[in-house]
């Protein structure tokens, strides 16, 4: 019996019935990771430790949580004590953290087993996973196509059924866009819902961890464990965490869903457009009402994001200087030379580009025009959302304007082309709102994602609406043909 493509609840049942031991499950998950190594989902496998841990759980027989004994993959920017954490960057390619991120700690406290660290865009900067120092990840649906990014390895590992779920982070769409491109479910929670302690920063005010899984239900299981205030991250929210799983099966009759007037969907691929209209109809059939709403400032999201995120990144990445940890250049003349060479050698092009943009946006004489202005626009965008959520429960958009694309087909000449991948996802990061992407069909044999955006701290609404949709459709059960990856 293969565990491939099984959900957390299914695996939990197998464990409960002693149809499989935790060790067998863990080892099979690792075997799958190895079998599909060509996908390049993993930067580091945690083979020995996870087997030891699995045996210990088998011995203790304490299967109290749904996550107990469940193999998970962690995006390679969550620090894991004793296990290499690279951010898919050369500069951290030898970094072994002395501590573990709160998110990983919580998931492991619930009994899950970290089988490995997943590939990603370098420092989470990218939408195609092509900026990784460890090479591109293939989309399980089509060899030579990107899985999306930056959590591309996590999305591909879940889509290929290697693990039932994985962690990701989302700064401008980095969970939702790869979830959409790989045909799985990915949730970006409210900013502050989950602790950022131990999660290597890209843009502090936008970064948020979240789950990627094969269903909304499994996302809810992970979110239950990942959420909560952490005194080590004072920007985490000190608010109640509801049981997301318990509240997942409510009727959505009478729920008001907003369609954003400013997003002109007629520009989209007609097939992408068609999927969207079908899902709209599906929700109407389930009793939801659609209302057109206006978010007057939302069209400024992309430039706003690309002023703020690089600015924060330029500062956050200053610590990679070759002095205390990470890559250090050899044969340097003096301190400045050490900085210049270590950073020039250690960072890839996209990271360098964003550091330069951010440094420029913060420099004297430009700060007001770029960073400060962007923060003001960000406030306006947030106010727009606050306003529309007075009269609606959810917003609905496509997750991405396109489906997955071929390696090296986008952004190689003009990086901005790739930045537009984030058109629909970025605004919820700017506003700190939760959003989810669920699969809703395919175009040319590649998955298409549907995005729902929720009000502040209303992940329960999102998960419920997504779950109800999935209870009434089969899109999330579609499996890629992996025969080409052997």
């Amino acid at each position: 019996m293969s565990i491939q493509f099984k959900s957390i609840t299914e695996l939990n049942e197998l464990l409960d019935n002693k149809a499989i031991s935790v060790l067998e499950l863990t080892q099979e998950s690792i075997q799958l990771a190895k079998k599909y190594s060509e996908l390049n989902c993993f930067v580091t496998l945690n083979e020995e430790n996870s087997s030891n841990r699995a045996s210990a759980i088998d011995r203790d027989q304490k299967n109290t949580s749904l996550l107990s004994g469940i193999p998970l993959a962690q995006k390679d920017l969550f620090c894991t004590e004793g296990l290499r954490t690279t951010c898919s960057s050369k500069i951290l390619s030898n970094f072994i953290p002395p501590y573990t991120a709160t998110v990983v700690e919580k998931l492991e406290d619930a009994g899950s087993i970290t089988i490995g660290k997943t590939n990603m865009d370098e420092f989470a900067m990218g939408s195609s996973n092509e900026t990784s120092f460890f090479g591109s990840v293939h989309n399980p649906w089509k060899k030579g196509f990107v899985p999306g990014g930056s959590s591309g390895g996590s999305a591909a590992a879940v889509a290929a059924g290697i693990v039932p779920a994985a962690t990701g982070t989302d700064t401008g769409g980095s969970i939702r866009q790869p979830a959409a491109h790989c045909g799985i479910t990915g949730l970006k929670p409210t900013y502050g819902r989950i602790s950022r302690w131990g999660m290597i920063a890209f843009a502090s005010s936008l970064d948020q961890a979240g789950p990627l899984a094969r269903s909304a239900e499994d996302c809810a299981i992970l979110l239950n464990s990942m959420s909560g205030y952490d005194s080590k991250d004072t920007t985490s929210l000190n608010s109640d965490v509801p049981n997301f799983l318990e509240n997942i099966n409510q009727s959505i009759k009478g729920k008001k869903i907003g369609i954003i007037k400013e997003f002109d969907l007629s520009d989209l691929d007609t097939e992408v457009q068609k999927r969207f209209d079908e899902s709209k109809k599906a929700y109407e059939n389930l009793g939801a009402e659609f209302i057109e709403v206006s978010l007057p400032n939302i069209s400024a999201s992309v430039p706003t994001y690309y002023s703020i995120a690089p600015a924060e990144c330029s500062s956050n990445l200053s610590r990679y200087d070759g002095v205390r940890f990470g890559h250090r250049a050899e044969n340097t003349d003096d301190l400045n030379d050490l900085y210049i060479k270590s950073r020039s050698e250690g960072f890839g092009d996209e990271v360098k580009r964003r550091i330069l943009i951010g440094t420029y946006a913060l420099s004297a004489g430009y700060y007001d025009a770029y960073y400060k202005k962007a923060q003001q626009v960000r406030r306006l965008i947030k106010n727009d959302f606050d306003q529309v959520f007075k009269s609606i429960d959810l917003l609905m958009t496509p997750t991405s304007p396109y489906t997955a694309f071929k390696f090296e087909s986008k952004g190689t000449q003009n990086p901005v082309e790739l930045y537009l991948e984030d058109l629909f996802t970025i605004s919820s990061n700017l506003a700190g709102l939760p959003a989810i992407s669920i699969p809703h069909g395919q175009v040319n044999s590649l998955p298409v994602g549907l995005q729902l955006i929720g009000n502040f701290l209303r992940e329960d609404e999102l998960l419920n609406a997504a779950h109800v949709f999935q209870q009434n459709s089969d899109f999330h059960h579609a499996k890629p043909n992996l025969e080409n990856f052997k």
Binding site: G198, K232, T234, S315
Partner: protein, 476 residues
Amino acid sequence: MSWETVIGLETHVQLSTKTKLFSRASTAFGASPNTNVNLIDCGLPGVLPSVNKEAFYKAIRFGMAIGAHINQTSIFDRKNYFYADLPKGYQITQMDLPIVLGGSIEILNENSSKTINITRAHLEEDAGKSIHDEFEGFSAIDLNRAGTPLLEIVSEPEISSAKEAVAYMKAMHQLVTYLDVSDGNMAQGSLRCDANVSIRKSGDSELGIRTEIKNINSFKFIEKAINFEIKRQIKVLESGEKVTQETRLYDSAKDETRPMRSKEFANDYRYFPEPDLLPVVISNEEMQKIKDEFPELPNEKETRYQNEYGLSSYDAQIIASSKSMADFFESSLTGVKNYSLLANWLIGEISAYLNKELIEIHESKLSSENIAMLINRIDDQTISGKIGKSIFEEMCINGSSPDQIIESKGLKQITDDDSIEKVVDEVIENNSEQVQGFKSGKEKLFGFFVGQVMKKTQGKANPQTVNKILKEKLAK
């Protein structure tokens, strides 16, 4: 031509919190390199700062003491620059919304007082330390100091001489130690300043071009560095040239300032609000608590010492001027009847000893119990003041109690008339020549007789009794 000096000081006060500003690592001075360092202090990937509120309480106490406005909501900003002892590549500081705004400090310079206005005071973290001379071919980094809380206090450019700058720093030292905001230890860098110095023609309203002298850490060096800089700038201006705006370093060995980095390399610090920290909000309750627990300040102590203990205004002022002296005075009071005598000793012998040794009283071997005992023995005439001084010398060396010293050396004062009379008789008998001289009018010889009696009693005779009996005997 006559010139006028304009000085503004930026004082860095290391706050005496137990742990760092954004981590729970210890701030203790003198630990082995890189032992008071945790994940946050060395800026590991993925770590986040958490604010130590105690630093805010101390900063607010300072702000309240100088009559400043307290921003109950203040924010942190990042100041970005690369240096090997700056682990994150940025310093967390306060730029736009500092905790303390305005206020003023009274300084006393050559008996005239002056008010210096304070622009602002903000919290920030200290950097680590680079060590360049310990390892051949390498520089070493000690991060023990990285993240230590500092209060940077910026004065208005209202200081007009090196002496005034020293007076300002002395007032600052008194204030921060009194408020228990800092230990004020300048040798350990707990109190240091940058001086912005400029010169203009007397009467000009526009400020001249300034230079900034970095990191001066003693009263003596403040005076010397500023005076050197004033002379240097006057020379530059009088030769018809312009002062270059630059950062300079004071070299105490050569007694000169010289440029530290030229402006071509001027840093653009790219300040922006620290996204890892929310604005810090101080509640009204917290403000009230700080007010309720406000320590007594020097002028309040001065008045109280006069009213409660009958000290002269001079004595009261001197004792109250130093926190450590005042603390010692107050802890010695228990069991002492003669407060003035205690005050005299503190201002006299004890201060002289401390000044000679260049130490603070808590660094000496003197305990308040022992000083109280000494004062009481003098007061109840067990010993004379003079014997008291020799006992004191011994106390300073080995810290033993006065009673022990009196007992072991047999220093108890001879006060009974009979014993003293016997000695006086002996002295008169053995010095007939001097007796003759005294009686013929050489009254100065009286001291000689006193000396002889003291010599024979090893100084233990009560001087008043000796005087009285000698006078009687010599009059016969």
